[in-house]
Symmetry: C7
Subunit: 95 residues, 7 copies
């Protein structure tokens, strides 16, 4: 199954960071929300500006990103848990 | 009866996904909202930009879409339960 | 008495759909709001865009429409109960 | 005393409709707000669009209008109770 | 001391209307807010439109105005209690 | 240490007005917020309009201003308590 | 690991100011929020104006800034605690 996000949305695969100790215990960092890491799988064609023209997307498929932990909508495609979010929810690119 | 959505609205037939086990039990996935699947039956002519010109729709009749589970207004046409929602409520296209 | 809606408003006559059984009992469908059906009696000249120019209306007198059950303001003209609503409250056209 | 509304405001004299029976009892219609009837006494020069140009008013002194019962600010000029409201509070014109 | 309001603000001297009886008793009119009367002492140069150009003020020093009773910020200049408000808080001009 | 406000912000030194009696007692004026007096020490380059061009500032360093008592963010530079606020928080100029 | 903020975001390293006495006691200043000091490590390419064109950033990597104490999102890159915030959260530049 193939999914194309609409407008300025992107499809993201969450990259779980390793927050466990070697013995398997979860180490809580702090109560403060930390951004999550992900990889962009697909991007929309872009939103339209107020004259109806496309606004080019600043990200592309394959980009590694950081995003707010609670951003986006969960979506299951072909049994895989993915996220759909707006480009504006992306904090920045990892390289 | 024929229905044409106004402005940037679309008419959607919900596609029920199979969330039951073979024995017929409903398997709750999680409390988190999952998007729903649907097929576009009709699209409006598009909203107008601030100069009054039409903004072209990005979807068309026949498109398979994902949308937020609680998006849209329920409407019964010729005895069939359909949904009217705005194009911006559509998360993306399935192909 | 003649009434002309201002700006992007329309004057609507509600078309009561038959939700009673033949024996006269009202059958509640569900708690979910269903759109109502109506006929447009008069339309305004249209709102103005941000340059002050008129934005053309997408509906005209005689159009059969669907609208949210709680949309519009009730108004009694010549003893008849009518509704004034904005064009954006109209979900779509029936034909 | 002469009063000129500013911008897109209008000065309105409320026309009391007769909701009493001949015996003088007030007949409550329903709990739903009904629009009120009025006559425009004076209009402002119009709001300015975002380029600073005037947006022409769609109503003029002498127009009979309908407006939401709770619209506008009460004002007493030369002992007469009048209303100041924005043009956008006017539902439509009676003719 | 000389005060020049910034942007689209005006400096207003409140004109107390006589709401007492001859015997000195205050007669409450109603619980509804009534507009207050004032005289404009100084006006700002005007706000800027979205292209950065000045939007001309519709009022000038010396104008008698009506404004909402609770509009503006109280300010004491040379021992006199005055009000600073935005032009949009002015309901209209008295002449 | 040198500080340059960003965009349409200004750096302000509060001018304490004398609200004490000669005997040193503070005389509360009223519960209503009164504007405070200050002097502008530095101004930003100006915000950008929606086309990205600078909007010229209406105030400059050295201007005496009035501003809402609770406007701005407190900042300590070289041991001195100053305020950073937006130009739009300034009520007007004293001269 | 290299991080590039998206749009009008900046990556900031917080500069801890010395609020301890020589004996090591923390001296609480007041309950009022004071701005914090930081250094910009990386800046985004800039937001887009409503015509889709880039709006140039007013800050660059290496700039020393003040920002509201609670601005931005905490992010850990290569074990270092950094902040991502929008340019508009920056109060001004220190030089």
């Amino acid at each position: 199954m193939n999914f194309t996000p609409l407008h300025d949305r992107v499809l993201v695969r969450r990259i779980e960071s390793d927050e466990k100790t070697k013995g398997g215990l979860i180490i809580p960092d702090s109560a403060k929300e930390k951004p999550a890491e992900g990889e962009i799988i697909a991007v929309g064609a872009g939103a339209r500006d107020e004259a109806g023209a496309r606004i080019e997307m600043d990200v592309k498929a394959g980009d590694k990103i950081l995003f707010g932990k609670w951003s986006g909508t969960e979506i299951k495609i072909d049994g895989e848990d993915l996220l759909i979010m707006k480009e504006s929810d992306i904090l920045g690119l990892l390289a």
